[in-house]
Amino acid sequence: MNDMTPIAKVQTTLKDWETDQEVRWCPGCGDYAILKAVQRTLPEIGADPSNTVFVSGIGCSSRFPYYIESYGFHTIHGRAPAFATGVKLANPDLDVWIVTGDGDGMSIGGNHTMHILRRNVNVQILLFNNEIYGLTKGQFSPTSREGTNSPTSPLGSVDHPASPCAFALGSGARFIARAYDVSKNLSSVLKASHAHKGAAFVEIFQNCIVYNKDRFDDFVAKGVADQNQLWVEDGQPMLFGSEKSGGIKGITLDMESLSLKVVDVVDGDWQAAGVIVHNAKNRAIAHMLVEMPFGPFPMALGVIYDDPRPTYEGVLLDQDAESRVGKEANLAKLLAKGQTWTVAGTAADPI
């Protein structure tokens, strides 16, 4: 029932979503591009500023709510999902976005990321992954690659990095998408995440111009993007590359090893090459796509998994409502519940 509450669409423009606050990110930070993409997307989905809430934790990305003209709550490190859960349970009609980073959402707040996903609270979670701690000045993060030189790892980090999308999927997420800050497809990914009823997890690779500059260039830089980005789309074959950049390629399933494989597509005949058609409801394929090692494979981007199930607040609040049926909120009766006894009054003090 609570899932069905229609949210009225409102006409706004990008300007309506800008605040009078001075944006305080470093010049050239990928966060600017993400901010613009979000501000461009909100009018397109008919979002109402009065009904929209951005909740964040701590870190560069978590300053985001100050720059969006909606309700905003800049909370404490790693806990934004827990605050957002309280907001949604108190008022499920609010449209809630969580903005977090690889440190906030995967390190100090990994626990809450897991639980909001498994519960399936109807929110959009945007995890800006720059593979570094920015606001504390450049230490390695849980997504930093092995060997990352940083003030706390001058000999190179030895930690094995976590994969946010694999973590989200393992936590039971029903929507997984990936994009990057300056991608022209970011807005369509954000729209899809908003259209999904339930917890939608979006990993956005984001360039930290100061501490981890051009970290994602091996798949976002011009010239290599074409051969190194696989944009998946429900119902479409998994193709990447072009004739110009060295040939069209596709992803197939090797039945013997039960693993994915890159194949060349000759003369556009992807069926002959055995390229698989993306099914966003196929959880097994989603697992394979987010675990695909970059290098031998391209980076899987777009809506990787989208298979809704009832939302947490919908089921919980319906259950609560059901349990209230036929019950009266009579406090006087509640206080006098259980085995009681009466002490008789006197003429002077009757009861």
């Binding site: 009065s50 809430v53 309700y71 309280g86 907001v87 008022n91 639980h115 006894w341």
Partner: protein
């Protein structure tokens, strides 16, 4: 609440009083023997008989500690009488020991000449070894200071339930009902409410109901028969004189839950409770989960931090956010409390204190989180703190916490402790209409002089407006980073932080203007000595000061509910006494706060054994202070 109750002379040999004013009974047995249930049901029948009472459940942290061991003993003490009862009693008059371990760990507390009722059937070689007895204490004369009544309760229970064809293990489970039957006979209690309760409890397996009832009746019948020959006598304790009205029993955890529901109604707000299970606070979450019809939403979070964070999120969205825990969980919530202070959102945090630090004593009581409540956050982070003195007092304290939170837009800490949370006492059911409502107000239009929105504008109390997301046109941002005093935008300039720090402090200090002046519970407003307490030490302090005054000693009692900020007259009041004694179940925390706030020479009386004070301990300290 008129007569002074001294320890009764029940069963102390010599003159025998078959109608004593008060009696203390302790049931002790294995964790699996059902002692808490026995005690609870005995409490109920005692309440129904019109006695005043206080209880003290004392059980191990382990759910089912290995059978027969010393650390697996679970006990339930009840003090009941025909006059006002404030504590569970210093020394039991009667000890029911279901096995050797229960005898060994409890007999030391028994009053000289008191009665031991022991299940001789359990005093076998194996159980004696587990309790580290070389010789059977029932046979070696070591219990000669007391009256001993030892018989095979196990065998008699088995015989009583034989017709119902239960297995040996199930049959022995009825032992507690046999014992309860005997206790009900001893104090001339009606069995019918208990029979009704058993029929309801075992509605799905009537055989178990019948077996338990048979055991209960057999225990009762045993009393009638044994009276003719043994030391067993039947006692009649007259009903206590209470104000007329409807009464029920209530535990602290129940009263807190009911008080929160009442507080939310008085604030005209739906309540959101975010909790994470922890002993001894979980009962509040259990209780509230059953009260959805009172616009209560409960959420079992993934951890203590998420529990408070969700409650703050719900407060932001316009509910009355509540969270509850015990020391270790409160420590985890510290950072989020700071955020609630910074964003000035209403929030109730309940701490059912237990022995610490760290895991400490999960099932034992202590008052050692006072510093944590008043000071335990980073930065200058002032927050009102109020403390409940008894199980029934929790109801009013919870309402008061809701009032302060909503009127002042601030988080509030409520301190109770393991003793109050679990203990039961009679409660005169209050009339909800007797409490003054304090409806919450939400901002619906921009509040600035030039038509702008000022989220941090302050009213005469220093409170900012509460602005719910979803309100058209009032979009704004809040957060833990320092803000401009007017616009609420990020501003950590020197002037801004100075102004905001001062404003937060002034607001919480100002709460003192809305609370009643400190009253003197007993005695005069000046004199030689005042005993100052807070929280669950109320009972033993009250009785100790009563006794001292009856002896003619110049001593008064002050009990503080609002421990932060404190009543405006408290400092002057304390200065009217030559000496100030502060009994606390910690190493002297409130004593230090009083010294700091009022420069008074407060002297500590400390106890950290996990057990409440006895009346005698406080009496002795009064004697010493006046010597």
């Amino acid at each position: 609440m008129a007569t002074v109750v001294d320890g009764p002379d029940l069963l102390t040999g010599g003159k025998e009083d078959l109608s004593p004013e008060a009696v203390v009974v302790r049931f002790a047995g294995d964790s699996g023997d059902g002692m808490q249930l026995t005690g609870g049901q005995f409490t109920l029948s005692t309440a129904l008989a019109g006695n005043d009472l206080a209880t003290f459940p004392d059980f191990p942290a382990e759910i089912r500690a290995p059978q027969g061991t010393l650390f697996g003993v679970s006990a339930f003490q009840i003090n009941f009488g025909s006059a006002a009862i404030d504590t569970a009693g210093d020394q039991p008059d009667v000890l029911v020991a279901m096995n050797p371990a229960a005898l060994k760990t409890n007999v030391g507390a028994l009053k000289a000449g008191g009665l031991i009722i022991a299940d001789a059937g359990e005093f076998n070689k194996r159980n004696l070894e587990k309790a580290k007895y070389d010789v059977n204490p029932l046979e070696d004369g070591s219990l000669e200071n007391w009256q001993l009544l030892a018989f095979d309760i196990s065998a008699m229970t088995l015989q009583a339930v034989k017709p119902f064809g239960l297995g040996n293990k199930e049959a022995l489970r009825c032992k507690n009902m046999w014992t309860l039957g005997l206790a009900l006979w001893m104090f001339d209690r009606d069995r019918q409410p208990l029979i009704d309760w058993l029929n309801a409890k075992f509605a799905k397996s009537p055989v178990l109901a019948q077996a338990n009832i048979a055991a209960l009746n057999a225990g009762h019948a045993y009393g009638e028969t044994a009276e003719l020959v043994g030391p067993l006598k039947q006692y009649h304790i007259a009903p206590a004189e209470s104000a007329p009205g409807l009464y029920r029993t209530v535990t602290g955890a129940e009263a807190i839950s009911l008080g929160l529901v009442a507080g939310a109604q008085l604030a005209e707000l739906p309540m959101f409770f975010g909790g994470y299970p922890i002993t001894p606070a979980s009962a509040i979450l259990h209780n509230l989960t059953k009260l959805k019809e009172f616009s209560v939403t409960t959420f079992q979070a993934e951890d203590e931090i998420a529990a408070i964070a969700s409650a703050i999120g719900a407060s932001f969205a316009g509910h009355l956010g509540v969270t509850s825990s015990s020391g270790p969980g409160i420590a985890l919530k510290g950072e989020a409390m700071g955020l609630a202070i910074m964003t000035e959102l209403p929030l109730i945090i309940i701490n059912s204190q237990r022995g610490g630090p760290s895991t400490g004593l999960p099932t034992k009581t202590e008052q050692s989180d006072l510093y944590q409540a008043i000071y335990g956050r980073n930065g200058d982070a002032p927050m009102p703190v109020i403390a409940a003195r008894s199980a029934s007092d929790c109801f009013e304290v919870a309402i008061e916490a809701c009032r302060i939170a909503v009127e002042y837009m601030t988080p509030v800490i409520v301190l109770t402790d393991g003793y109050i949370a679990n203990a039961a006492e009679p409660w005169k059911v209050p009339d909800p209409a007797s409490f003054k409502p304090f409806p919450a107000k939400f901002l619906t239009e921009k509040n600035g002089p030039d038509g702008e929105l000022l989220p941090l504008a302050r009213d005469e109390k220093g409170a900012r407006p509460w602005i719910k997301p979803g309100t058209p046109g009032l979009m704004h941002r809040i957060g833990g980073i320092e803000k401009n005093p007017g616009t609420g935008n990020i501003d950590y300039s020197p002037a801004s932080h100075q102004t905001m720090t001062d404003a937060r402090k002034a607001k919480v200090d100002g709460v003192a203007a809305s609370i009643p002046a400190q009253a003197v519970e007993l005695g005069e407003t000046s004199g030689k000595l005042v005993v100052v307490g807070w929280g669950s030490t109320y009972g033993p302090i009250h009785q100790a000061v009563r006794r001292a005054r009856r002896k003619g000693q110049d001593v008064a009692q002050i009990h503080v509910r609002h421990v932060w900020p404190m009543p405006l007259n408290l400092g002057e009041l304390l200065k009217g006494y030559d000496k100030v004694l502060v009994p606390e179940m910690n190493t002297g925390q409130f004593k230090t706060v009083l010294r700091d706030q009022f420069l008074v020479d407060a002297q500590p009386l400390n106890k950290t054994s996990g057990q409440p004070f006895t009346i005698a301990e406080i009496e002795a300290a009064i004697d010493e202070a006046l010597a």
